[in-house]
Every structure is written in C-alpha cells, then in structure tokens.
C-alpha cells in the first residue's frame, strides 16, 4: 500500500514536470497574480475566468502572430508575501515579459521592485499613484483611475444637485488599506474645489461582517451621499446594515463594488443605489463584441454567473495581446520592449468593453471617462452619458 502510494505520487509529479517542460518553443507567456482564495476572491474568480476565456479566444483566432499565447495564473490570496514569491517564480522560472497584478497592496509594494527589474506590471489597481512614469515607469492599467472615477462621481453629484440653499454632504466609506485610502486625498480636494462638503470618514474593514456601528455614526452626520469603496460582497453588508438602522443617505458605490452580484447579495437594500464604472455590464446589447464573450462563457462555464468583472478580464487580455503582438512583430519580446509597446497605444479600441485607451511615455493614465449606473430591479441601468474629467495636472499622480 505504502509503496503503491509512493510510486503513484512520484509518477504524478514526473508527469506534472513533464507537462511543464514539454511545450512547443513558439509560446508567448504572460503571468497573472489573482486572488482566488482570499478576501477579494469573489472578484478574482470572475477576473481569472474572463482572462482565461479571452486567452483561449486569442489562441482560437490566430494567437500572437501565430504563436501560442500562454497565460499563467497564480493565486496570491491578496497577500503580499505570497505574491512576492510568485512574482519571483514568474520572473526567474517562467521568464514572463510582464505580469498582471490584482491587489493594490501588492502593486504598491512591488512598484519599486518592478522598476528595478524592468518588469511591466498591468494591474487591477487603478490608482493614479502608479500612473506617473517618472516615478513608476513600469505600471499600466486598462481604464480610468479610482481617483478620477471618484471625482467623476462627485462631479455627477454636484451637477445633479437641485437644492441651491446648501452644499451636498458626502461621506466616504472604505476599508483601512492602500486600496481603500487611494482616492481619499484627490476626492476631498476636488470636493472642496467644486463645493461639496465632506463628512467624517467611516472605516469598514473587509471581509465585512457588520457595519451597523459605522452606519449609526454616519446617521448622526446625515450625509446626502455616501461613497463606498470596497467590493460587492462587502458593500452588500454595508447597504443591508444601513437599511436596517434606517439611514436615509443615497449610496454611490465605486467600480469594484458595482457588479451584477451586488443586487443579488444586498437584495432590496441595493435598489436605487448608484455606481460609477467604465466597464460594460455583462449582456449589454449595445456592444457588438458581447456576443463573442457570451458564446465563450456559455461554452466553458455554463454553471457560473458572469458579471462585468468577467468583461474586464477580456479587456485586460485584449490590451495585453495587442502589446505582445506589437512587440513580437518587432522581434523583441523582452520586458523593456513590451513596456515601449504599452506606451505606443493610441486610441486603442477595446471593442466597447471599456472606453478606448491612450498611453504615452509621459502619462500612463489610459482614460479619463466613466459612466454612472443605477441598480433598478436587480439590473444595472446607465443613468448618465460618459463623463470626462480630463487630464488635470493638479491631480496627476496623487
């Protein structure tokens, strides 16, 4: 028995190693560190699904100039020490020319390292703190930054404010981590500039189990709007608790909290909640490319319920494959060549999933637009057109 187990496990291991090494030479690799088992895994699983299906679509439609596109996804569980090890594995063992990183904490901590290693980092952490090429020349993202999106939400609040006798009051709700705090400074600066009163911040940790005490404190201040920076899973708890303690405030959620799961998780409490995002909801008819995405989803993961995060995964791979194609055409798939290709993207059309992007060597922020949505009967309904906040040097890189 013992011998049998030993033999079997050794065989398994050898086979595994064999699979890893016995690949064709014509492979273009890309790494991805995504949270599949940590506090943001609900989001990460959708993202990974989108990226994996998109990678399959890339290979089905000709690959990277005929070469196979190989996406290596690793689970960092939103932890920095794990991510650090995987980063080293991807860089030294797999020798990828760049990688995708989900966690803001990891992205912020690896920023010095990727600069040192000259490793392009494409991320889900849409913070403008990583968009200044003079400080972080190797960081790129797919769409408008958190900071800009929070300002877009504030602009929308101000533009739709009817009561001229007083300023609208806004409170920020966020978890106490780099992601949660990223937008605070520019959002407060902007609020002051356009005449919005900012109330005391409410810190709600994630994974969130209870937010009643914060909601009761917030009720005392009684803001007109509350801007939630979290994830759908955690935002749902906040919304439900707010309803329970009788908060009258209108909630606005950020891009990471707004997806099709929010009304499912929060139920009635999510009705009428606004959100700011740039990603098209899954199944939106006005986007022609949606049919391809839906076909792939139907084919490979029928049992899962897709959200707009799945679409974002596709958008990410569209950008990455475009960049790799460009670098491959020039015959140089080194990490520095890939970086140069990122900075070459000009009005690159992402098939309507997110707005077209432009990245230059001076400014890595790819877009400055976003849309406001509202949850009506469990569906995401757009309530505004694209709002463009523009490239204001005052808010650049803070």
């Amino acid at each position: 028995m013992k011998k049998w187990i030993m033999t079997f496990s050794v065989l398994c291991f050898v086979m595994l190693m064999g699979m890893g090494t016995a690949q064709a030479q014509k492979v273009v690799k890309w790494g991805a560190l995504i949270d599949l088992s940590g506090p943001t895994s609900d989001w990460g699983k959708q993202q990974a699904a989108g990226q994996i299906d998109a990678a399959r679509w890339i290979n089905d439609t000709g690959g990277i100039n005929g070469k196979e596109f190989k996406l290596i996804v690793m689970d960092d569980a939103y932890g920095i020490d794990k991510a650090m090890g995987y980063y080293k594995t991807l860089k030294d063992v797999e020798q990828v020319p760049g990688l995708y990183i989900q966690s803001t904490g990891t992205a912020l901590s690896l920023k010095e390292l990727v600069t040192r290693d000259k490793m392009p980092m494409f991320g889900a952490s849409f913070t403008s703190k990583l968009m200044d090429p003079s400080k972080t020349p190797y960081n790129f993202i797919v769409t408008t930054t958190y900071e800009d999106m929070s300002r877009i939400a504030l602009k929308w609040i101000k533009d739709n404010w009817k009561d001229k006798s007083r300023k609208p009051k806004v409170v920020h709700i966020y978890p106490d981590n780099p992601y949660g705090r990223a937008h605070l400074k520019p959002a407060k600066m902007y609020a002051e500039e356009i005449g919005i009163e900012t109330g005391p911040d409410q810190i709600v940790h994630w994974p969130t189990a209870d937010a009643k005490s914060q909601m009761i404190t917030m009720k005392e201040y009684n803001p007109d709007f509350a801007f939630i920076t979290s994830t759908a899973m955690n935002a749902a708890v906040i919304l439900k608790d707010a309803k329970e303690v009788g908060v009258k405030t209108q909630f606005v959620v950020n891009i990471r909290s707004l997806d099709e799961n929010l009304p499912l998780l929060a139920g009635k409490a999510a009705d009428g909640v606004y959100g700011v995002t740039t990603v098209v909801p899954y199944g939106a008819k006005e986007v022609a490319f949606m049919k391809t995405m839906m076909d792939y989803h139907e084919k490979f993961r029928k049992a899962e319920k897709p959200t707009l995060v799945y679409c974002e995964g596709w958008a990410n791979i569209l950008v990455i494959s475009e960049v790799l194609k460009g670098a491959d055409k020039k015959g140089d798939l080194s990490s520095t060549a890939v970086k140069a290709e990122f900075e070459n993207l000009k009005d690159f059309d992402l098939k309507g999933i997110v707005p077209p992007i432009t990245i230059t060597a001076k400014d890595h922020a790819p877009a400055t637009k976003a849309k406001m949505y509202q949850i009506k009967d469990g569906k995401l309904v757009p309530v505004s057109d694209w709002i463009d906040i523009g490239r204001d040097p005052k808010y650049f890189g803070i």
């Binding site: 699979m19 088992s37 996406l71 090890g85 594995t89 063992v93 904490g105 901590s109 010095e112």
Partner: protein, 355 residues
C-alpha cells in the same frame, strides 16, 4: 579502540558531535550550502519549476524565527501566539532605524533584536501568574496590540501603506540581489542554530528545561521561575526580531498584513511539525512547511496551465491538500520530523544487519 559509542564522563555525553563522522557530514553540508547550492539554483529552477533560491532564503529566515519559538515553547513550555507580532517589531525597528535615524545595517540588525527582546519581555511578564492556555491568550493580546499600533502609528510605520525598506549593506557591500542575501541569511541561520544548540548546555538552558518539565520542582531546587521565564521570552523574541529584520530587508516592503496571527500560528505549526524541544526540529519544520507551500503551488500552477478552466478547483484542492498533509503528518508522526530523522538514522546505522 572502543567498539561503539560509550559515554565515560559528562562532557563526553554533552558533546555536540558524538562522532567524527557527524562533524564531517555537517561540514560537507555547510560547504554545500555555501559553495554548491547557489551555483546550481538555475538548473534546480528548471527542474522544480519554482524559485529555489527564494525558497531557500525564506526557509533560512524561518529557521531563525523557529529556533526562537522553539526556545520558548519547546524548551521552556510557554506557548506564545505573539511570535508573528514580535517579528513585526524587529522588521519595523530595523527599517525605521535605517531610514529615519540613518543607522547602518550592522547596527540596526542587533538593535532590532534587542528592542524586540525588550518588547517580548514586557509581554512575557504575565507568564509569572499564567500558564498554558491562559498565557496563550495573554500573548495573543501582544499580537493584536502590536498589530494595531503598527496600523495606526502612520507617521512612524507608514500605517496601511507599509514602508519601503532599503537594502541591507555591510561596509560598502550591498546585499542587492537574492544570491548575496542568501549568504547573509545562511550565515545568520547557522550562527543561530549553533547558539541554540549550545544554549541548552549552559545554566540558563538547563533552567529552561527544568521549568518546562516541572516548574514546582524547578523552583524547589533554586531556579528563579520569573527570571528564567522572562529570559526565555527575551531570547525567543530576540531571534524573532532578527528574523523580522531579515524579512524586511529581503521583501523590501513591510506592511502589517504580513505579520498577522496567521504568521504566529504558522510558527507554532512549524515547530510542532518539526519537533518541539529539538534544534533539528526547527530546521526540519521550516524546510517542510516552506517547501510544501512551494511544491503545492507549483503543482497547482502547472495543472492550471494545462487545464485553465479548472483553476479555481486546483486552488481549493491546494488548500485542502495542505491541511490534509499536516493533519496526516501529526497523526502518523506526532513527535515531529526530528523524531522521524532519529529513527531513520538508527535504521541505516545498522543496515543491513539490523534485527
């Protein structure tokens, strides 16, 4: 010429190297660590498909920390759930001293150890009155208090943003890549191991063991319980601080998330798997734990690359496997890897003529 190993006097019995062979093999092993291993890592990377050097450095750091908790838990019998936080104290002390006070690394490293020792001794004071699970809860308080302080003292520690740590440097020599850092960690890990091994041949070390085995009897024969318990906390935390400082300079960014209760439990798991109250246990436990983590990760990575649609399942399987292996391990080898090592050694010593 004696036909076996006979202890004719005490000093003979207390020798670290019982035979010349053991000493010889140890030297071969150390020479391999310094002059063999670093030169074959790129080949090992290709075969094993994970970053071997990174794993070795992490193992080295964990060996230092594991010796620390082994002195406290394995040898003195005081359970601590604050070891992760003590590591944080060391990490932040070294980082802050270097960035804000301009200390050189050679000074900031021992300072990190000493400050952590001081903090550990303060949190060790309840050990006079509390023992067993109650002490465990008291040290748990250390974990949360330190973690909270780091998270909120933004001006000093960078709060939730964490802080960037400069490279370690001695004189003009900068440890700016993994290979250089590997040597630093190995030197310190070997020094720590020698220190721990020798500690239990001295008066304080013996007092620790007496306190663990029967504190009442120890007190009767003149062991000052309070003094030695606090001393044990001090030495244990000192090593945690050194491990923390090395961690900080290696990872180059420290943030409170790295030093949560999970790390404290991980340390306890390492020494329990390796073998409580055994110097070899700390080493084996670290190798096993860090190695297993990497191995399962590489398996899940390779399988996911071949079957991308099943990636979420592989991730879950990885976590289940990890728990399962550790549970099975504790069932079949409750005394830890060190005990298994002794059995294997005894078997081979007489092979093939054992009976």
């Amino acid at each position: 010429m004696p036909s076996g190993l006979f202890h004719e006097n005490y000093s003979n019995d207390e020798r670290i190297f019982q035979t010349l062979w053991v000493k010889g093999w140890l030297w071969v092993f150390i020479l391999f660590l310094f002059f063999g291993f670093p030169f074959i890592v790129s080949d090992l990377n290709k075969i094993l498909r994970f970053n071997v050097l990174h794993t070795a450095i992490l193992t080295g750091i964990f060996v230092i920390g594991a010796h620390g908790i082994n002195i406290l838990t394995g040898y003195t019998g005081q359970i601590s759930l604050g070891h992760g936080a003590f590591m944080a104290v060391g990490a932040y002390t070294s980082a802050i001293l270097m960035t804000k006070a301009g200390f050189p690394f050679i000074l900031s490293l021992p300072c990190a150890g000493l400050l952590t020792a001081a903090v550990g001794m303060v949190f060790g004071v309840p050990s006079l009155r509390l023992r067993g699970l109650y002490l465990c809860i008291a040290t748990l308080a250390a974990q949360f208090i330190i973690e909270f302080t780091i998270r909120r003292w933004t001006g000093l520690t960078g709060g939730t943003q964490g802080m960037f740590v400069p490279y370690a440097a001695i004189g003009g020599f900068i440890f700016d890549n993994d290979k250089k850092f590997y040597y630093l960690v190995m030197v310190l890990a070997i020094a720590t191991t020698a220190f721990t091994k020798n500690l239990f041949r001295t008066k304080p070390g013996r007092a620790f063991i007496a306190v663990r085995d029967r504190y009442f009897a120890a007190e009767l024969i003149g062991v000052n319980l309070f003094k030695y318990r606090i001393l044990s906390f001090g030495i244990s935390s000192f090593l945690a601080g050194i491990a923390g400082a090395l961690w900080a300079h290696y990872i180059s960014l420290i943030i409170y998330e790295q030093f949560t209760i999970h790390l404290s439990i991980k340390y306890l798991a390492i020494v329990i798997i390796g073998g409580l109250g055994s110097v070899l246990g700390g080493i084996f436990g670290s190798i096993f734990y860090v190695g297993l983590e990497q191995l399962l990760e590489v398996m899940s990575k390779e399988l996911s690359a071949s079957f991308p649609l099943l990636i979420t399942y592989f991730v879950s399987i990885k976590e289940i496997m990890f728990g399962l292996i550790i549970i099975l391990f504790l069932i079949f080898e409750p005394d830890g890897l060190a005990a298994r090592w002794r059995t294997v050694k005894a078997y081979w010593k007489l092979w093939p003529f054992s009976y």
